[in-house]
Amino acid sequence: MRIGVVTFPGSLDDGDAARAVRIAGGEAVRLWHGDADLHGVDAVVLPGGFSYGDALRCGAIARFAPVMETIADAARGGLPVLGICNGFQILCEAHLLPGALTRNQHLHFRNRDQYLRLESTSTAWTTSFTDGQEILIPVKNGEGCYVADQRTLDELEGEGRVVARYVRGNPNGSQRDIAAITNAAGNVVGIMPHPEHAVEALTGPSLDGLGFFTSALRHLAGTAAGGQLTGGAQR
């Protein structure tokens, strides 16, 4: 299975996302922001970092990169896409996910090991987890506070599209402790913390991040065999 990892100018965790894909057993394919061709990948990761220096708003400019136009179309067609941190911000700016990520309430960049609770395990990126499972992965961001209007939030909750919530403390003030969400189809997931930094005992606080990448590989194997994504609503 080939999972593309996009590099924008200013992407930083792209190498780490590619490493995580490899450790999970996939083939990582590096994609370049200026190249609209997805080179036949089966899924895409938008990595963390500061694309375009986070000028204006995080993700605001990356959204207009040639590769993003292709990815947006493919995502609407069901391509599994995982946006991590800056990637999550890009997905929101591109309107592939609802809401927005704003300045942390405490106004500081914050890097710590963070507990999350998985709340939707039927997305393309979370089937390796069990519902309600608590995991520990690093969070590191300055603008990770998830906001959306009440109706959107209620809709996300109602449709089971809140993928993960912060537990034992909310590191950035996100509304309803939201750490990760998905689109209605369950193929596009945005997550603020960094699963790619919890895939090796030597360098991470746990191996909990690996599940996101193995989920995608499992999901791809399933769809290749004719399986269907059930989406968040089926939870």
Binding site: L56, A60, I61, F64, G99, T102, R103, H106, V147
Partner: protein, 88 residues
């Protein structure tokens, strides 16, 4: 000056922690009659030729403001009048 100014502010219902932090610091400066502070962005767009409000509006709409959380207003820059620019 062929300049258009776009002001982008958070929608009123969106929390503004930065503005809040400034407001909270005011009593220490001895200021007590401020009821709220909101912090947004001011973007100055310089055109090569004539200032073009329509283009500016399109830029603002697509790029400068995020409609999920922000409103914007747009105007051709009038030369500084009463407003004293201070080089602090």
């Amino acid at each position: 000056m062929a300049r258009v100014v776009v002001d982008v502010m958070l929608k009123p219902e969106i929390l503004d922690p930065q503005g809040q932090a400034v407001a909270n610091a005011l009593p220490r400066l001895g200021v007590s009659d401020v009821s709220s502070v909101r912090i947004g962005r001011r973007i100055e767009i310089e055109f090569a030729g004539e200032p073009d409000l329509d283009t500016a509006r399109e830029i603002a709409d697509k790029l400068l403001a995020n409609p999920v959380i922000e409103d914007f207003s747009i105007r051709v820059d009038e030369p500084a009048g009463d407003a004293a620019r201070m080089s602090a």
